[in-house]
Amino acid sequence: MARYIMKRLTAAIVTLLIIISVVFILVRQMPIEGYFDNFDKLDANIVRARLVQMGLTDPLFTQLKRFLGNLARGDLGTSARYSVGVPIRKILLTKIPVSLQLGLSSMALSLLLGVPLGVAMARSQTRYKARLWDAVGTVFIVFINAVPAAVYHIYLQAFGSRALNTSMLFSREQPLTWVLPILSMSLGSTAYYAMWLRRYMVDELNKDYVALAQAKGVTNQKVLARHVFRNAFVPMIQYLPTSLLYTVSGSIYVESLYSIPGMGGLLVDVIRRQDNPMVQILVIIYSCIGVVGLLLGDMLMVAIDPRISFAKKAGAR
């Protein structure tokens, strides 16, 4: 088991290094305007001097080595256009708490909505008729999955703010303006949790051990709670760390739409401002979150599911 974790950890670190290098090299291919806040007014000589000063004329490999070294020391560089000369780390530190607050709330909300919905849908599968919840849930899931999030968020913002009688934009001081962004962010994962929980639970429901538990004389209610739900939730636990980590980065679209001063909104801002160093760092952070999330998810599964360490040892990939 320790060996499996070590292997998985090494693989994650290698993946991270590859991602960072590729992103770094790709961003170096961008036009150099992205490193100056007033490129048009600058003299060619000054531009060259500044490029040399920033080390952007060095061989790519030297630059990469320096960049990785800086990252390892926790130096993320400075912003070039978004807020000139400010260390990126400082900018991020003001953004992360906002995203984290909203993200955690939305994650809690989506678990709170999605899990009961998934259970209700699976439960209505156990009955012959009265599949109301399944129908309601299916419509919801199809809608959320099929209609691009970029579209329904717009409508939710417009109609929601009218219904709640609040501003369309986020403001930290007004609690009511928190409602819509949190709801928006949670819709996708609510549908996700409901869909997968339903699917896993229906899979479990058809397994023999459920019949055996019933034959023991356990009530249907308890079979669902103690056996089916528990077992169906285990595969979902794998994705919880990823969801949790993404709350740090926030939803790119929602944050931008509501002008929330968080990480996601920041990414859109720096892209529109063509701030190369910041785009680079943010893209790297988002990719790392994906890798780390999956890694943590796998670790969590090893800890929770007694079968996994066994199966892995038995030689599955």
Partner: protein, 343 residues
């Protein structure tokens, strides 16, 4: 374990079970009648799809959600089980009176709970034990089904057990309910041949120890010969013949039973082709006209295609649903292989 004149503990009469399948109605049990006597071992045999499993599931109210009892009666202990509607009513039967051992031990245990927890669940429900008493009961149960080192084993997960061991655990769970009737649904099909005999022995031992009535569901006639006192042969959702094991093996009366026995490879002779039953069972989506086996019966009578045969009592213990037993029917001898079995 002859039954004498005792009253059956469980009696199924003209049971009809239907399933709604994608807008169509499938009649899985077509008026089957069967009795179960205290302390006996009854084997229900028949090919896949003949309704064996559905029959026993209807005894526990565990039909799939699209299935229902559409007619007939199941009487147990003075209760009419077909009138049970709520889960509460069924809970007085499930586990408490009738327990079940499922076919595939690899899937019938919850992979995420320890063996101890799973046995304990049944013990808490039916023996009302708590704390150390419960723990001792769990360990006792594990030991009872022949698993050594119960203290350690109770903390292990199903994947740490072999197939045969898991089946012992499943039996332990069923026995932990302290049932009066144990249904074993193909208990050995998924196991190695070497393990099969051990499991059957275990069930037999437990039957003696706890004065159980056991229903075996199987298509393995070898198992039947080994464990059963009485045999019921099912075909296309109906019990076509029932009798003591000796009667079924040596005096079979129904052409389907003949065919079933003839297809035993052991009865074949070197050089002769193996006997197989031609054709396929009838579609249960449609009403069956006459004797369900008639289309596959090489020596069917004209009436077989027109009228369903009633049950003819051959001896006190032996009955069969075939027109061959009608006084008007011609004398048709069982096939060669059956006579060989007899001789």
């Amino acid at each position: 374990m002859m039954r004498g004149d005792n009253i059956p503990v469980l009696s199924i009469k003209d049971l009809v079970v239907r399933f709604d399948l994608r807008g169509q109605s499938l009649t899985a049990i077509r008026g089957a009648s069967l009795e179960l006597y205290g302390g006996e071992s009854l084997a229900i045999v028949g090919e896949s799809g003949s309704g064996k499993s559905v029959l026993v599931k209807s005894l526990m109210g565990m039909l799939d959600k699209n299935g229902r009892v559409a007619g007939g009666s199941i009487r147990y202990n003075g209760q009419e089980l077909t009138e049970f509607r709520t889960e509460r009513e069924w809970l007085s039967i499930r586990g408490r009176e009738i327990a079940m051992v499922m076919q595939d031990p690899m899937t019938s245990l919850n992979p995420l709970k320890t063996i101890g927890e799973q046995i304990g669940e049944a013990i808490s429900l039916h023996q009302n034990l708590r704390g150390t008493a419960r723990r001792d009961a769990i360990h006792g149960m594990i030991a009872d089904v022949g698993i050594s080192d119960p203290l350690r084993r109770a903390r292990q997960y199903p994947h740490e057990f072999s197939g045969g061991m898991r089946q012992r655990v499943v039996i332990a769970i069923a026995m932990a309910c302290k049932p009066k009737i144990l249904i074993c649904d193909e208990p050995t099909t998924a196991l190695d041949v070497t393990i099969q005999a051990q499991i059957l022995e275990l069930i037999k031992d437990l039957q003696l120890k706890y004065k159980l009535t056991v229903i075996y569901i199987t298509h393995d006639l070898g198992v039947v010969a080994r464990v059963a006192d009485r045999v019921a042969v099912m075909y296309a959702g109906d019990v076509v013949e029932q009798g003591t094991t000796e009667e079924i093996f040596f005096e079979p009366a129904h052409p389907y039973t003949w065919a079933l026995l003839s297809s035993l490879p052991q009865l074949g002779r070197k050089g002769e082709p193996l006997c197989a039953i031609e054709g396929t069972p009838p579609s249960l989506f449609e009403a069956v006209k006459g004797d369900a086996f008639a289309p596959r019966n090489t020596r069917a009578l004209r009436i077989d295609g027109l009228y369903a045969p009633p049950s003819f009592q051959i001896t006190r213990t032996h009955s069969a649903k075939t027109w061959l037993l009608d006084p008007l029917a011609p004398r048709i001898e069982p096939p060669e292989a059956i006579r060989r079995l007899r001789g």
